[in-house]
Amino acid sequence: MENTARITGKRTATAWKKPVSYNLQKKTRPTEAIIQAFLLFCGVVSILTTLGIVLELGKEAWLFFGDPEISVISFLTGTEWQPKIGKFGVLPLLNSTLITSVIAIVVALPLGIATAMFLSEYASPKMRSILKPILEVLAGVPTVVYGYFALTFMTPLLRGIFGNQNVDVYNMASAGLVMGIMILPLISSMSEDALSAVPRSLREAAYGLGATRLETALQVVLPAALSGIIAAFIIGVSRAVGETMIVAIATGSGPNFTFNPFNAAETMTGYIARISGGDLSYNTPDYNSIFAIGLLLFLVTFGLNILSRAISRRFREVYE
C-alpha cells in the first residue's frame, strides 16, 4: 500500500494517516538477480557448446584410437583408408579436402578481392545498392543447391571441355570450382568491409599527389586493408575445408589418394556425411572414425578462425 502510494501519488486511506516514509536504502530486487543469472546462463551456453564439441568428439575419438590396431601416427600418415580391412589412414581424405579447397580459393580469392575493390573504390552508390543484394543472395543460396549446380552444370561443362575420358562423372575440380563461387561473396564482403574502413583522408591525399584511381587503390588502400583481406582469405579457407554438401554430391564416394582434380575422391566432410547417413551401428570403428575425422576438422577450422582473428587484430592499421 505504502509503495503504491509513493509511486502513483494516490493518497489511499492508510497513506493519508502515516507520513510517507523515505527509505533511500538500496532495495534488494531478487527478480533482477534472477534475470541476470539467466542471461549469464545464456551467454555460457556458447562455452558449453564448445566444450560439448571438444569433449564429445574427444571421447569418441579416444574410443577410436583406443583400438589397438589404430594409432594416431598411422591415422595421420597412412595413405589408405579402408575401414573394412582395418586401414585408417586419413591422408586420402585430407588430400582431396585440400585439393577442393585450393581450387575454391584460387577461384574465390582473386575474384572476391577484385569485386570488393570495384564495390568499394569504383561503384557508384546506386550500383552498390544493386550489386550488394545480389552478392547477399549468392551467399544465402543453400549449399545443397550449389551441390546440385556442380553435378548438373559444372561437371557436364568440364566433361565437355576436357573430354569424357579425362574427367570422371564425380570429380574434385567441379566441386572445387563451385565451392569457389560459394565462398566468393564471403571473401568479397569481408574484403569490402576492410577496404571501406580505410579512412577517406588517405585516398584524398593520394589523389592530391596526382595518383590515378588504380594507383590509389592498389598502393594506398589495399596495403592499409591487408590485414582484413588476409582474415577474409583464412575464413574462406576454413569455409572451404568444412563445406560438406557440394563435395558430398559432386566428388563421389570412396576415398582415393590422387592428385588429379578430374578424379573422384571423397573428402573428410563427404566421408562423415556418407557414413553417418547410412545405417551404421554404434561403437564400431567405422562409426567412431567419423568422430576422429570430425575432431580433426573442428581443430583445423577452429584454429583457422582464431588465426584469422588474431591477424586482423594484430596487424590492423589504426587510423586517428
Binding site: L57, K59, T115, G140, G242, A273, L297
Partner: protein
C-alpha cells in the same frame, strides 16, 4: 607511383612529350584495371544467373509419357466424364482383389469423391511413366525434333510439356516413382524443425546478447572468453554441429529426444526434436552476433535517461533498449533462420530419413526435411528425379527469398525510424 628514372632531356618539348607518354600509360593502366574489376563483379552476377537458369531449365520441359494401360481401352469416354460407379467398377475389374481390399479399407470405392477415383485409376491402372524427359531450352528450341524422335522411339507414348513444380509435387510425399513423389512431408518436417529451432535459439540468443552488451564488463576475462568463443563458433563447419547433435541429442539424451520420458513410444533419438536442437546450436552464434549489433545501435542517451529517472537495469533494458533493438534483432533472427532452412549436412548426420511417406506427427517423430529431400533426389540416378530435385530447389529458394525480402523490409522500416 612509379619513380621516374632520372633522364636528361634535350629540350623542353621532349620533356613534355615524355611526361605525356608516362601519364598516358598510367591512365591506360587505370582504365584497364577498372574494366577488369567491373568484369569480375559482373562475373558474380553471371554466376548467380547461371545457377538460377540451370535450376529453372531443369524444372520444366517436355516429357515422353508412356502408359502401362491405354486409357482408351478402359472406356470410350474420357475418365473425368465417368461417374463414381463406373470408375469403381473399372478399378475392381483391373486390379487384383487384395489391392482393392487395401484401397477399400477406409470405405467403399463408390463412396469416395470422383476426383479421388480418377486419381486412383490413373496411379493404379494407367500408371503413366516418364520414359524420356527434356530440359526447358531443348524443349523450346527443338520442339518438333523431340516430338518426331519420341514418335519413332516410343510409338505408344504421348509427349507433353510438364512443369515439375506442380500441385502433385506440393501435395504428395516421397514415393519411389518420380512422377508421384512430392515434398509434402519434407516441407512439414522442415517447418516443425524450424519451429523448435526458433523456440530454443531465440530466447537464449537474445539473452546472451543482452548479457554481453548490457551486463558484462568488457574487462572481465570470462566475458571476453565468451565473446571470442561465440565469434569462433560462428565459423565452425555445420557438419561438426551435426556430429555434436548425434553424440549429445541423439545418443546421450535419447530418453528425452525420443520421447520415452514423456511416455511417447519413440524408437530412437533420430527425431525432429534432436534435429531442431542441433540446428538451434548451429544458428545461436549468428543470432547472438546479430542481436548484439542491434542492441549496440540503441543510443546510450536512452539508457542514461532511463537510469536518471531511477529505473533499474532490467527496467531500462526491457522498456527502452529492447523495443529500440527489436527490429534489428528480428532481422538478424530471420537471416539466421534462412540459414537453418537450407542447412543439410547436420541433418544428415543427426539422422534424417530420406524415405518418409507420412506427415511428421510431432517433435518425436522421425523426419525428413526439404534440403534432405533435394540431396536425396540429386544423388539418384534416374533423370526424372533430377527434375523434381530442381522443382524442390525452386520451392526452397522461393521460401528463402521471401524470408530475405521480409528481413530487408524490416531493416528498411527500421532505418527510416531512427
Amino acid at each position: 607511383m612509379k619513380q621516374m628514372e632520372p633522364k636528361t632531356f634535350g629540350s623542353n618539348q621532349e620533356m613534355q612529350d615524355a611526361e605525356k607518354n608516362f601519364l598516358h600509360r598510367r591512365h591506360q593502366r587505370a582504365r584497364l584495371a577498372q574494366s577488369v574489376f567491373q568484369l569480375t563483379t559482373l562475373l558474380a552476377v553471371i554466376f548467380l544467373a547461371t545457377l538460377l537458369v540451370t535450376v529453372v531449365n531443369k524444372s520444366m520441359g517436355y516429357v515422353v509419357v508412356e502408359n502401362k494401360v491405354d486409357p482408351s481401352t478402359l472406356s470410350d469416354r474420357p475418365l473425368s466424364e465417368l461417374n463414381n460407379t463406373e470408375l469403381a467398377q473399372m478399378l475392381r475389374e483391373n486390379l487384383r482383389k487384395n489391392r482393392v481390399r487395401t484401397l477399400e479399407r477406409a470405405g467403399f470405392l463408390e463412396d469416395q469423391s470422383q476426383s479421388t477415383l480418377v486419381q486412383l485409376v490413373e496411379t493404379e491402372i494407367i500408371q503413366p511413366e516418364v520414359v524420356e524427359s527434356y530440359n526447358l531450352f531443348p524443349s523450346l528450341i527443338n520442339s518438333s525434333k523431340i516430338k518426331a524422335d519420341a514418335a519413332s522411339t516410343y510409338p505408344n507414348a504421348k509427349v507433353e510439356f510438364r512443369y515439375w513444380l506442380n500441385g502433385t509435387l506440393l501435395t504428395n510425399s516421397m514415393a519411389s516413382q518420380p512422377e508421384l513423389a512430392g515434398v509434402r512431408s519434407a516441407l512439414l518436417g522442415s517447418l516443425q524443425l524450424i519451429l523448435i529451432t526458433i523456440l530454443t535459439a531465440f530466447p537464449i540468443g537474445v539473452g546472451a546478447a543482452i548479457y554481453l552488451e548490457e551486463y558484462a564488463s568488457h574487462k572481465s576475462r570470462i566475458n571476453r572468453l565468451i565473446q571470442t568463443n561465440i565469434d569462433n563458433l560462428a565459423g565452425v563447419p555445420s557438419i561438426v554441429y551435426g556430429i555434436l547433435g548425434l553424440a549429445l541429442f541423439v545418443r546421450a539424451l535419447q530418453p528425452f529426444t525420443s520421447g520415452a520420458l514423456f511416455g511417447v513410444d519413440g524408437q530412437n533419438g533420430r527425431t525432429i526434436l534432436s534435429a531442431g536442437l542441433t540446428m538451434a546450436l548451429l544458428i545461436l552464434p549468428i543470432l547472438i552476433i546479430n542481436a548484439q549489433e542491434a542492441i549496440r545501435s540503441v543510443p546510450d542517451s536512452l539508457r542514461q535517461a532511463s537510469y536518471g529517472l531511477g529505473a533499474t537495469r532490467w527496467q531500462t533494458i526491457w522498456h527502452h533498449v529492447l523495443p529500440g533493438a527489436l527490429p534489428g534483432i528480428l532481422t538478424g533472427t530471420i537471416l539466421a533462420i534462412s540459414r537453418a532452412i537450407g542447412e543439410t549436412a547436420p541433418l544428415i548426420v543427426v539422422g534424417a530419413s530420406t524415405f518418409i511417406t507420412s506427415d511428421p506427427t510431432g517433435p518425436f517423430s522421425s523426419f525428413t526435411a526439404l534440403p534432405i529431400q533435394i540431396y536425396n533426389w540429386t544423388t539418384r540416378p534416374q533423370p526424372a528425379f533430377q527434375h523434381i530435385a530442381a522443382a524442390a530447389i525452386l520451392v526452397l529458394l522461393i521460401a528463402l527469398l521471401s524470408l530475405n525480402a521480409a528481413a530487408i523490409l524490416l531493416r528498411n522500416r527500421f532505418a527510416k525510424r531512427v
